[in-house]
């Protein structure tokens, strides 16, 4: 049934987010630490586990796939509720502090990905 997929997704979400909240408490941080990430890892691992044992029929998968197809609409709703007016109207420093570090980070991405590619191909050779 479709609801089983939604339940499975919801359970991964709740457990992952709770891990993120408790981890934050443990570290003394005022924000969730990686809750979504833990939830995603749980989903990947448990889905794999259940799928291999035929406990995850296609009908249940629909309950998860529906939400992954709702992803872009949810993001559109999110962008429509951003404080865009604040971003544009709050002065030069806010604009620059939002723009320049982002460009610096973008510039770093090819460098790190080169680094990791070297590492990956080294791994490949050793296999």
């Amino acid at each position: 049934m479709v609801i089983y997929g939604v339940t499975f997704l919801g359970a991964c979400y709740i457990i992952g987010q709770l891990i993120g909240d408790y981890l934050a408490k443990l570290l003394g941080v005022q924000a969730n630490v990686g809750g979504v990430g833990f939830a995603m890892l749980l989903l990947i691992v448990f889905h794999d586990f259940l799928h291999k044992r035929h406990f995850f029929p296609a009908e249940s998968e629909k309950g998860v796939l529906f939400w992954s197809q709702m992803y872009i609409p949810v993001i559109v709703a999110m962008s429509a509720t951003q404080n865009a007016a604040l971003a544009i109207n709050s002065g030069v420093l806010a604009l620059l502090a939002g723009i320049i570090p982002v460009l610096m980070c973008f510039a770093c991405i090819p460098l790190i990905s080169k680094l990791s590619n070297k590492n990956l191909s080294a791994d490949g050779n050793s296999l």
Partner: protein, 252 residues
């Protein structure tokens, strides 16, 4: 009119579904007929969302974009962190654990580097604009990480409220720039594979920006970028008010 507003408020989430569907359709139309499919419909729709948010913010003076307009309050539920995170988690269904494991350590490296680069960049700009005290510098530097790290850091180091407001604004600018900029910059930084997507998520870290930016670039990469990005804000809230702030205080 009153009956209508009451009805819309009572059925806020359904109204939001219809509204978002309308925006997506408009995005598709513009993509097809105006831009000749050079920019995908979803990217146009995300951008349209920002335009509506701007117009609504100017009109209402509120902080929640379209959700501050009467009758559209459901947009803040559909576009809020609960549905956003739920939908992000669901995209993991198609992700490969093997690929994630292989990029693992580089993802962690990119998280730290992303926070350092943003913090230093934001701080240097604040310095150039005349801020000299460690509290303000750290808060604005943290704001250049995300719009959550900024105020959390500001509150922790007791920065003044106008500096905290500035740090939030910088974070919001970042998230919007990442949303709009990613599809344009993707070809130049090789953002077309899960490996780079994980590094991208760690370097930029703003969950809203990364998730929207990847959605507009290639939805298949969303789970990889989101996975690393989700650790960024937490790590930023950990590092900025502590290690980075103390370092800064020492240096001054």
């Amino acid at each position: 009119m009153e009956i209508l507003y009451k009805f819309l408020d009572k059925n806020a989430l359904i109204v939001a579904f219809v509204t978002v569907g309308g925006i997506m359709y408009l995005g598709e139309l513009i993509s097809k007929y105006v831009l000749r499919k050079k920019i995908p419909g979803s990217a146009v729709a995300i951008f349209l969302g920002l335009v509506f948010a701007y117009m609504a913010g100017i009109n209402s003076g509120g902080e929640k974009g379209l959700a501050d307009i009467k009758g559209f309050s459901g947009m803040s539920l559909l576009g809020g962190s609960m549905f956003r995170d739920f939908a992000i988690v669901s995209t993991a269904m198609g992700a490969s654990f093997l690929l994630i494991k292989r990029t693992g350590w580089v993802g962690v490296l990119s998280l730290f580097l992303g926070i350092f680069v943003s913090f230093i960049g934001g701080m240097a700009l604040a310095w150039m604009f005349g801020y000299q005290d460690a509290k303000s510098l750290a808060t604005i530097g943290a704001g250049a990480c995300t719009f959550i790290v900024g105020p959390v850091t500001g509150a922790a180091v007791q920065a003044s409220s106008d500096v905290i407001a500035l740090s939030i604004a910088a974070g919001v600018v970042k998230s919007i720039l990442v949303t709009i900029g990613t599809p344009w910059l993707a070809p130049y930084i090789g953002l077309n594979n899960p490996n780079t997507a994980m590094i991208y998520g760690g370097m930029l870290g703003t969950t809203s920006g990364v998730s929207a930016g990847l959605a507009a670039t290639d939805p298949a990469l969303v789970p990889y970028g989101a996975l690393t990005a989700t650790f960024y804000t937490g790590l930023g809230c950990l590092l900025c008010p502590s290690v980075l702030y103390l370092l800064l205080e020492k240096l001054l």
